[in-house]
Assembly symmetry: C2
Homo-oligomer: 242 residues x 2
DNA sequence: CGAGTGGTTGATATCTTTCAACCCACGTGG
DNA sequence: CCACGTGGGTTGAAAGATATCAACCACTCG
């Protein structure tokens, strides 16, 4: 029994940047995986844990976050289906941040043993997975820069990036997508206050750039939004993305 | 002929987190490497390049930076001897940022072919290098959070982190170390203006926490500095560091 | 219908930037 | 041997972006 459906998006993503043959794809699809439904906000893995498995996002959105000493939550990244947010735990024993579900979601648990066996037997898959963690790092680098720009730029960048990543795996229809984040979530992801998120979103709506409401994003003017967000997709390293 | 001396710090770093046997160490020391002296500020590899080798910092400091559309330089990370700042170019064809020398430095160029041969033949070394890139990513994650804290906290964190990383490879004597950065460099690394760097440094001096002057850092009160910087070394994943 | 969640508004405070000087140590060439 | 230029650092005043605080509103759900 294989997980052909559950791994489809993962495979699509990996193939954007790495060459994999049929045996490689089969090996990925045959990874032993336990599907686990998680509810919105639920902790999937917590800072300080030493997990023995990694999680493939099969459906829904997840996020990684650090909780500061004063209790403030800093969202580090948003994850869409097909991504493995905690693949790094394969080599870093202790988790340095939490992994949580943003919306109700399904994750596929893959044991580190199975992953190790996969990378030991299939060097191309090993390279593809390593590469995947390197793109992850590249996105963090980009956000170090984004975090220094004004609030409107940050929002524009976040939305442009998510649209691009969804597009790359075929999850973006027309000019809008679902984004299950409250303004508080956005604030924690962008490093600003909910009040300010609210005001900037209003301005973006008024300017006809972006309509973000009731968990739905509508890209009113994607090119201008990218320009405002200083968004250059190079850092996503989606080699063969259209 | 081997590069036992040049790779000594690299090996020390890798062994903090990964188990390597004598053959592994020998293989690393025998990597073919071209030493190249670089002067302060010189570009080692530029955004957009598709390098065929990675650079080991043998002596001196390097940094990675992105140049924004308006010409502002964003320093992403500072690199000390023993680190391989652009190891990710092994799997990511196009560089998404510049690598430059901070001070006069020596880097060792190692071809990707040689690295690929090494990781294909020595799985433990492959895991150690992969892990190294994961720690790199972890540091970027931490800086996403640090970047949202007040200026004094950011400076305190930067200095505490560098001290910790230097310490882990035995490069930190007593309570001070050389840091070849001007206040403009610090500003670009911390996402603030040089003027503000100056004022905050003065305050830190006055408070007896940190004396940073003429390219020398003196940790006047390391514990209080760590507290101010909300520095928790977990994210450095230096498993066996003291 | 009341509670709760998510969103909105206004007034004020704070941190950081901006701008515009100015200082100092150092090296170099006339 | 001094004038000058330069890189790095310092200072003050004013402006700007965002945070904070404190309400208030709208919708949904049981």
């Amino acid at each position: 029994m294989t997980h052909a459906n559950d791994t489809e998006l993962l495979i699509r993503r990996l193939r954007l940047g790495s060459r994999l043959d049929q045996d490689d794809l089969r090996a990925i699809a045959q990874l032993p995986m336990t599907l686990r439904p998680v509810s919105a906000g639920q902790v999937i893995a917590a800072e300080g844990d030493c997990p023995q498995h990694s999680c493939l996002v099969v459906s829904g959105f997840c996020y990684r976050a650090k909780i500061a000493g004063d209790g403030r939550r800093h969202i580090l990244s948003i994850h869409i289906p097909g991504e493995i947010p905690d693949l790094q735990s394969l080599h870093l024993d202790v988790l340095d941040h939490d992994l949580r579900a943003l919306s109700a979601a399904t994750v596929g648990l893959v044991s580190h043993d199975a992953l190790r066996q996969l990378i030991d037997s299939r060097p191309r898959v090993a390279a593809a997975l390593w590469r995947d963690t390197l793109v992850d790092a590249s996105i963090f680098r980009e956000w170090i820069v984004v975090g220094r720009r004004p609030a409107a730029t940050r929002i524009a960048h976040l939305v442009s990036e998510l649209a691009q990543r969804l597009h790359a795996v075929g999850l973006l229809q027309d000019e809008s997508f679902e984004l299950p984040m409250t303004q508080v979530d956005l604030a924690d992801a962008l490093g600003m206050t909910p009040v300010h998120v609210n005001r900037v979103l209003q301005q973006l709506r008024k300017d006809g750039l972006l309509d973000l409401r009731r968990y739905v994003v509508r890209l009113a003017d994607a090119p201008r939004l990218k320009a405002l967000g200083e968004f250059d997709e190079l850092y996503l390293h989606q080699g063969r993305a259209m």
